[in-house]
């Protein structure tokens, strides 16, 4: 009887034992597969967690290296504005998730028949009571007031770079004048300067969440406007509105742009890369990093992820230990059989190979099954916790790793556990038998 046949017969005839070994290999490889999948999920979730700190860097015009001029609206800096091409080049750097510009202009709002919309908390001084503090944005979702939850969108949608002639207004203002999504309002910068009027459509309505009466917010120009008198519009509308002020106001570009990175760990390298872009004259612009929250939490976050990683590594390492021990137990229980085979003149190599083939035969079935089992297992347990389920994904890479490493470990374990038996002569084995 050749060793293949012996191995096959052993496995099929000792059904109970084979089933047990099959289950053990299945369980352990499922555990290892789940572990590997969790390792990836940890990595992904940690990156996401770091991302929630909202790290960004801001590019500003460097006013100290530019000149000053005088025009329609008083003195202004002649420093270059941040051009769209420049923004595009920076956005192309890997790891930048989004960007937004911030520049503000005071605009007047009125309806089709030319009546001004009175602002919230009017002062009683007519020319000022139809003035609104309008931010030009290309991605209002990333505007600092929305990021800080000072405002939150309650109706409609945010402004994106594909929008033209749209506006976001406050809930208070929409209630006061009965304005709703889809309505159009007319805006103008300075009606006394022959400035063009632009009609914009309301695409979103935001709520003011914070206590505006807290005077800690009153440190700059913005504080003279009630938050309910804020509005957001797109760059196309603003370019038309400010056509009389070319060069003075940010109609030809942006005065400041915020770039948000997806992982704050890469902020420094992204900034360095941005500074390497040759076509930008960095003497005219400044870069500021905003990652205070990340800096505060970085060490705790890395503690967390190294703990989880260690947890998984401990699990995988110990699983390998367990399978080695169990195989030893398996081989040890076959001392008698080994003795008889040796006595029947079958070589030690052949017996060893028979054991390996037996386990291999079982493993061929349990490995693929563990792939399926772990997919179901990870998914089901994951779904108990909702969101995490999407993250724990068993991939074919994990599977090939488990198969590769699994086969090596199985063979090694059989070798090691066979050593004590194989060293003995058949007679010694048979006399040692229980």
């Amino acid at each position: 009887m050749n060793l293949f046949k012996r191995a096959f017969l052993y496995v099929t005839r000792k059904r109970g034992k084979s089933l047990l070994l099959f289950s053990i290999i299945l369980v352990i490889s499922t555990l290892v597969l789940c572990g590997l999948a969790s390792l990836d999920a940890e990595e992904e979730t940690s990156t996401e967690l770091r991302g929630t700190t909202g790290a960004s860097f801001t590019v500003n015009r460097n006013l100290s290296t530019g000149g000053w001029g005088n025009g329609n609206g008083g003195s202004y800096s002649t420093q270059d504005f941040i051009s769209s091409e420049m923004v595009e080049k920076i956005v192309n750097i890997d790891g930048i998730e989004a960007y937004d510009t911030s520049s503000t202009t005071i605009l007047k709002f009125y309806d089709r028949s030319g009546n001004y919309y009175e602002c919230i908390n009017p002062t009683g001084y007519a020319p000022a009571d139809s003035q609104y503090y309008v931010n030009t944005t290309i991605n209002s979702q990333y505007s600092s007031v929305f990021l800080s939850q000072t405002f939150s969108l309650v109706e409609g949608r945010h402004i994106t770079d594909s929008d033209e002639n749209v506006i976001l207004i406050s809930k208070d203002l929409s209630d006061k004048h009965g304005l709703k999504l889809g309505d159009k309002i007319s805006t103008v910068n300075d009606p006394d300067n022959n400035d063009p009027t632009v009609e914009v459509e309301i695409v979103g309505i935001f709520n003011v969440n914070i206590d505006k009466t807290d005077e800690k917010n009153n440190y700059n120009m913005a504080s003279y406007y009630d938050y309910s008198n804020y509005a957001f519009t797109d760059i196309t509308a603003m370019e038309k509105l400010l056509t009389n002020y070319k060069g003075e106001r940010p109609s030809d570009g942006y005065s400041s742009v915020d770039f948000f990175v997806s992982d704050p760990e890469n902020l420094e390298s992204i900034i360095i890369e941005a500074q390497k872009i040759n076509s930008i004259n960095w003497d005219n612009f400044t870069i500021t990093a905003n990652n205070e929250v990340y800096e505060r939490t970085a060490s705790s976050m890395s503690d967390m992820s190294s703990l989880i990683r260690t947890l998984i590594i401990v699990i995988v390492a110990i699983s390998m230990g367990i399978i080695t021990l169990i195989l030893s137990m398996w081989v040890k229980s076959r001392v008698q059989e080994t003795g008889i085979l040796l006595a029947a003149g079958i070589s030690k190599t052949s017996i060893l190979l028979q054991h390996i083939f037996e386990v291999g035969f079982i493993a061929i079935f349990s490995f693929p099954l563990s792939y399926l089992a772990s997919k179901i297992f990870a998914g089901n347990i994951g779904s108990l916790f909702g969101k995490t389920a999407d993250n724990v994904i068993v991939t074919t890479q994990h599977f090939s790793l488990v198969c590769g490493a699994g086969i090596v470990i199985l063979i090694l374990a059989i070798f090691i556990s066979c050593v004590p038996t194989m060293r003995l002569k058949p007679k010694e084995i048979l006399s040692k038998m229980s």
Partner: protein
């Protein structure tokens, strides 16, 4: 031969087998204990993340007659879950005068108007800690001389570079602040600092007293003396920090039970955006740990049951012989259970030691990494962090300890024994059902 003796002899004579079973049990219980200890540590790490994300709330009591008082503030600070860091703020206008009663010169260029009665006045911000004031943290003010105001200071002022040079004032000089709203009290203040505004205020928008040149920072005692002069301290706003932002809502509702102030007239604002942003992801990460632990425990249980089945199955021969010798099935079963429990009691105890060693080395590794991380943070991007870091020291992190708890060990004992009993019974069932003759026939 009693079952105890048989069990003892089997364990002692079959050294190899015993050692194997011992190792398997040891490894499984070490695995579970280590996992549980690491899980406890990740909870601490998550708490630290929440702590460093910070959550605070502001009480706006400006419109209440007596505003916030010292007794209310100290009661708030005694509330569970509030850190000892806080800031108390008041905003008002005061006229700048010299010691001999002469009005000082203020800046009016760039002002949209100089309101009547405010010709020599500026906006005064009273702070328990001026370094965290929004003018310094947001508007880009920089202290160029002297020191920031802390709770130790009384009757001091930080003025602008312009106000100082216009009136020939320098650090250590005194000036007089005169109340111009509600009362006409006046207070002498010593100049302890001079600031400069890095980014100018847009001209043509602010009234004269709001121009950066005319803004000053003072302490809370000065405010109380100017506007109350009743010997008590009064504060318009109070900022308080929660140790764990997850508790912020509970803390606020507890604070609202404090008597001595009409809470309905106060505006309480939560400030925990960073925590809210990170909340879901952080919880996902914690859930991941829970999932891993559950999987490990479930798989360990299955594994143990399988191994024990293998162990019992290998002893069909022995069982048949014993049955033939007239031992009852119950007696044989008990022997198997006693054998394994004898090993298990020892292994569980030992696993406490082995898992403690693993936990210790994990902890040490983590500590090494933490020190490495600190160094990375220090050599950071822009020069600005150094001054902003003042707030960071207020976050007191809980040190992460990875230790195996006795409770976990107890859990292992209870669950472990339960699994052993159950799986021995299950594995023995097919054998026990058979007659001795059948067993001996089936033997290999």
């Amino acid at each position: 031969m009693s079952l105890w003796k048989r069990a003892y002899l089997h364990t002692v004579r079959k050294k190899g087998k015993t050692i194997l079973m011992f190792c398997i049990l040891l490894i499984i219980s070490t695995l579970i204990l280590t996992c549980l200890s690491i899980q406890a540590a990740t909870d601490t790490a998550a708490l630290n993340i929440r702590k460093s994300l910070m959550g605070s709330f502001t009480i706006n009591a400006k419109h209440i007659d007596m505003q916030l008082g010292d007794n209310v503030v100290s009661e708030i600070l005694n509330t569970n879950g509030i850190t000892p860091n806080y800031n108390l703020r008041s905003y008002y206008h005061a006229e700048y005068r010299s010691l001999d009663g002469q009005t000082l010169k203020i800046t009016t260029d760039g002002a949209v108007e100089v309101p009547e009665g405010y010709e020599y006045a500026g906006k005064i911000v009273s702070n328990a800690h001026s370094d965290v004031d929004t003018y310094f943290s947001e508007a880009g003010f920089e202290l160029i001389e002297g020191h920031h105001i802390t709770t130790d200071d009384s009757n001091v002022i930080i003025i602008s570079e312009t106000l100082a040079s216009q009136n020939g004032l320098s650090i250590g000089d005194h000036l007089v602040l005169g109340a111009i709203e509600e009362t006409d009290y006046q207070v002498e203040a010593r100049i302890v600092g001079i600031f400069k505004a890095a980014i100018p205020l847009e001209p043509g928008i602010a009234p004269s007293y709001d121009l950066y040149e005319n803004v000053s920072f003072s302490d809370n005692k000065t405010y109380s003396q100017l506007y109350y002069d009743d010997g008590n301290n009064h504060y318009q706003y109070g900022d308080f920090y929660a140790a764990d932002p997850a508790d912020l809502d509970t803390i606020i509702s507890n604070v609202k039970t404090i008597s001595g102030i009409t809470w309905d007239e106060c505006i309480i604002t939560k400030n925990d955006v960073d925590y809210q942003n990170a909340k879901t992801t952080l919880e996902a990460l914690q859930n991941l740990v829970t999932i891993i632990i559950l999987v490990v425990i479930a798989i360990s249980v299955v594994l143990l049951a399988l191994v024990l089945s293998l162990w019992i199955r290998n002893r069909i021969h022995e069982t048949g012989v014993l049955l033939a010798m007239g031992f009852s099935k119950r007696n044989i079963l008990m022997q198997h259970i006693v054998e394994i429990l004898m090993i298990a009691v020892l292994t569980f105890a030992l696993s406490f030691a082995t898992s403690s060693v693993i936990a210790q080395s994990v902890g040490d590794r983590l500590l090494e990494q933490a020190t490495a991380n600190d160094q990375i943070v220090v050599t950071s991007l822009t020069g600005q962090e150094t001054e902003k870091n003042t707030v960071d020291t207020s976050v007191s992190l809980t040190s992460i300890e990875i230790a195996v708890s006795l409770l976990d060990l107890l859990l292992i004992y209870v669950i472990g024994t339960g699994i052993i009993l159950l799986s021995v019974l299950l594995a023995a069932y097919p054998i026990m059902r058979m007659k001795p003759k059948e067993i001996l026939i089936k033997m290999s």
